[in-house]
């Protein structure tokens, strides 16, 4: 099982979920470039100007570790990254678990994404104010020791800390992308996990994804918010188990 974190925080997002699958699955966790223990110097603004680059990274991990029959579990934007990866190399994937997926965050032409363009612009503007303990003095310590993330552990907010420039671009790519067309032609069986009151991926969006993926199941969780993997790990684990 390959777990991918979404926009915001690193692979620690899965720590209440992965133990339940350790016995019968090989668990692979990773941080997107710029997050957690990744090497931030690998970030190239030009390359990471679309979600395709992140999907390339997922495929690179699969090839490097020679993974087969992958159960890809993606949270938030990473569920769409998984869809892009499965579109390119469907034979690698056995199942997709999409937690709070949204192929398009902005409302338009009868489609409800949940946000207006101004809302997203405001988010992108306001990112400047939240550094989450990031400062340029700390950056060399964190970036120079990607193998030793414990050096940064002492700091608060470390799970969601990243270079503000990388975070801003990831946010821009995440919230401005339109990947609705990429849902077409996905044959890998998929589970759509939809929270009952999710401010980021509303129920209508989860239903949209489910309708566009013929091989999908939609499970509506009692959990509220956007992170059932943290707020309702047991319910999340049960739903994934039932699907597998």
């Amino acid at each position: 099982m390959l777990f991918a974190h979404g926009y915001g925080c690193d692979q620690n997002m899965w720590r209440l979920v992965t133990p339940a699958f350790e016995e019968d699955h090989r668990i692979v966790l990773f941080d997107h470039v710029g997050y957690g223990g990744s090497d931030s110097s690998a970030f190239d603004p030009e390359r990471y100007s679309s979600l395709d680059a992140y999907a390339d990274d997922v495929l690179a991990i699969c090839h490097e570790l020679e993974l087969e029959d992958v159960v890809f579990v993606g949270h938030s934007v990473s569920s769409m990254i998984g869809v892009l990866a499965a579109k390119r190399e469907p034979e690698l994937f056995d199942r997709l678990v999409l937690v709070g997926p949204s192929p398009r965050y902005i409302d338009e032409d009868g489609y409800t994404g949940g946000f207006r363009r101004e809302d997203i612009d405001e988010l992108l503007d306001s990112l400047e104010s939240n550094y989450l303990g990031w400062s340029s003095q700390m950056a060399p310590v964190i970036m120079g020791n990607p193998d030793r993330p414990e050096l940064g552990e002492e700091l608060t907010n470390s799970f969601c800390r990243t270079d503000p420039a990388i975070a801003a671009q990831f946010a821009r790519v995440t919230f401005l992308s339109d990947n609705r067309a990429d849902l077409d032609g996905i044959e890998v069986p998929a589970l759509v996990l939809q929270c009952s009151d999710d401010a980021i991926a509303p129920r209508a969006v989860g239903e949209f994804v489910h309708e566009r993926l013929p091989q999908s199941e939609l499970v509506l969780l009692r959990a509220t918010g956007h992170c059932p993997n943290l707020s309702a790990p047991e319910e999340t684990v049960d739903a994934i188990r039932a699907f597998l």
Partner: protein, 533 residues
């Protein structure tokens, strides 16, 4: 007096309700269960309206996303969150910039039970951050301006040396500038006409008037430009900045740029435009001097080439000159025809190394020298021999090539000599066309052999022709010289019926053939006419 101070009594309730920060207690899903008076006063909400509402619903949409993607996960993962910057929507719709600190309380089973949050008013801090942001933006803009100036410098360094090309390059660089709505460069021409370069979009028509409203046309234009200072002013379409292009106080033209409202600092914009204008004016002045020199050279060459050819019933002569494609400068090719008394006529074609005014001047000197020398002693050997001495004193004439021929108008005897020059072509009615390979020696001023320069003698029959030309007619990088000479002989052969004027223009065209002529071409044809009955 002397008694110990007693702290004023205050209850825990008062400490909570009137604390200098907002207090909120919420359930793990954000539902507010308790709130203090400070928070209510800051936000204008009623206590009843707050209880049951959720913290995230008080945030702006962007803040809600941040809450879901950072605040909530962090709180769950590390049990506390510090200094999250958000904006809280007040009851009246205004926004309170705030910093949130939260701690998560767990129940006996270790499950999340309650979240305690303090809210600090961050209005001043946010204002300060914006100030920092603005400073950073200004620095970035300044950096971009420097880069843009460097771009203009680079564009000027690679643009051809013509004023039009310079104006167009500067207008393009200014228009490509981040944030510019439009830019135009106007060049002051004769009669007060201002020619515009660039100027698309919102800058169209911009150059019709100076920023002070005076028309940029007619007799007033030069005056308006002379008195124009660098200005930055708001108008309906944005911020307009204009700077005069001056050289030693004389107006050459004007630069105008329009940027959207509020995107530039007026003073910085003016300084930037001033720097552009001085760079541009310098290049324009340089180009003007260069153009002037080129014009002088062209005039000189024209006067030399168009000099009267002798009119004589015993022969007819035609010449053709076509400048090379790849250079704006005049070349060093020339021709000459002149009578030596009544008995003979001399024809000359030469090629000076280099281009431009220097080449044109040298060409003029050699041309005059040959005429003077030939009058004293018309023999080709003597003319070229003395020309060597002349070339030693005129460095520009070194390595020039010359073909000189003297034709007797009484018996058609043709004496010729080539100093490093391609062989003349001789035609004789009823016989094959020939290349004259005798009488050859080195180019001017580089003579290695001893003794007089060799010359050769042939005879020009009535109706026969001699053709002199420069290497531009026959030299091609892709073809062997011999092949090209053979081609020339064939082409001349096939044009036996053409009058000389038609022959020289036809040959120039035919020999261009496979494109890429490049070099200047000069050719001269003299035909000896049969004696009148």
């Amino acid at each position: 007096m002397g008694t110990g101070r007693t702290a004023p009594q205050e209850s825990a309730e008062e400490l909570y309700e009137s604390a200098p920060c907002g207090y909120l207690s919420t359930e793990p899903d954000g539902t507010v269960v308790r709130v203090n008076r400070t928070f209510l006063e800051w936000t204008g909400y009623e206590r009843e309206a707050m209880l049951g509402a959720r913290l995230q619903d008080l945030l702006t949409p962007g803040g809600r996303i941040y809450h879901e993607t950072h605040y909530a996960p962090l709180l769950r993962m590390q049990g506390e969150v510090r200094e999250i910057a958000v904006e809280i929507m007040r009851a009246d719709g205004s926004r309170l910039p705030a910093l949130l600190n939260s701690v998560l309380a767990l129940d006996a089973a270790g499950e999340p039970a309650l979240v305690r949050t303090t809210i600090f008013d961050a209005t001043d801090r946010r204002e300060y951050e914006r100030e920092l942001q603005r400073t950073r933006d200004r620095e970035r803009e300044a950096r971009e301006r420097v880069e843009r100036l460097q771009g203009i410098g680079a564009a000027l360094a690679t643009s051809p040396l013509s004023r039009d090309a310079i104006a167009a390059a500067v207008a393009t660089e200014l228009e490509n500038r981040a944030g510019a709505v439009g830019a135009a460069v106007g060049l002051l021409g004769g009669g007060g006409r201002v020619r515009a370069f660039g100027g698309r979009g919102a800058t169209r028509g911009l150059l019709d008037t100076a920023p002070d409203g005076r028309p940029l046309a007619g007799s007033a234009a030069a005056r308006a430009l002379e008195e124009l200072a660098t200005v930055v002013q708001d108008d309906a379409h944005g911020v307009l900045a204009a700077a005069p292009l001056l050289t030693e106080g004389r107006p050459l033209g004007v630069l105008m740029v329009r940027v959207p409202h509020g995107s530039e600092e007026p003073a910085a914009e003016a300084a930037f435009l001033d720097a552009c204008a001085s760079q541009c004016a310098h290049a324009l002045e340089h180009a003007r001097l260069y153009e002037e020199e080129r014009d002088v050279a062209a005039t000189l060459q024209r006067s030399l080439l168009a000099a009267d050819t002798p009119n004589d019933e015993r022969f007819r002569v035609a010449a053709h000159y076509s400048p090379g494609d790849d250079s704006l400068e005049v070349g060093g090719d020339w021709f000459d025809v002149f009578c030596l008394g009544d008995a003979s006529v001399a024809v000359v074609v030469g090629d000076v190394v280099g281009r431009g005014l220097d080449a044109a001047t040298t060409m003029g000197q050699l041309r005059s020298a040959i005429r003077a020398l030939a009058l004293a002693d018309p023999s080709p050997s003597a003319v070229l021999g003395h020309l060597d001495s002349f070339a030693l004193q005129a460095p520009g004439a070194q390595v020039a090539t010359v073909v000189y021929a003297e034709i007797s108008l009484e018996d058609g005897v043709l004496r010729y000599a080539c100093a490093g020059h391609p062989p003349p072509v001789l035609t004789t009615p009823g016989a094959a066309t020939e290349l004259l390979w005798e009488g050859r020696s080195e180019p001017l001023g580089v003579r290695i052999s001893d003794g007089p320069r060799p010359e050769a003698t042939r005879r020009l029959s009535p109706g026969g022709r001699i053709l002199l030309y420069t290497d531009g007619l026959v030299e091609r990088r892709t073809r062997a010289f011999d092949e090209r000479l053979a081609l020339l002989a064939r082409e001349v052969d096939s044009r036996a019926g053409d009058v000389p004027t038609r022959l020289v223009s036809g040959l120039t065209e035919a020999m261009k053939g496979d494109g890429a002529a490049g070099d200047d071409v000069c050719l001269l044809c003299l035909e000896l006419l049969p004696a009148a009955p």
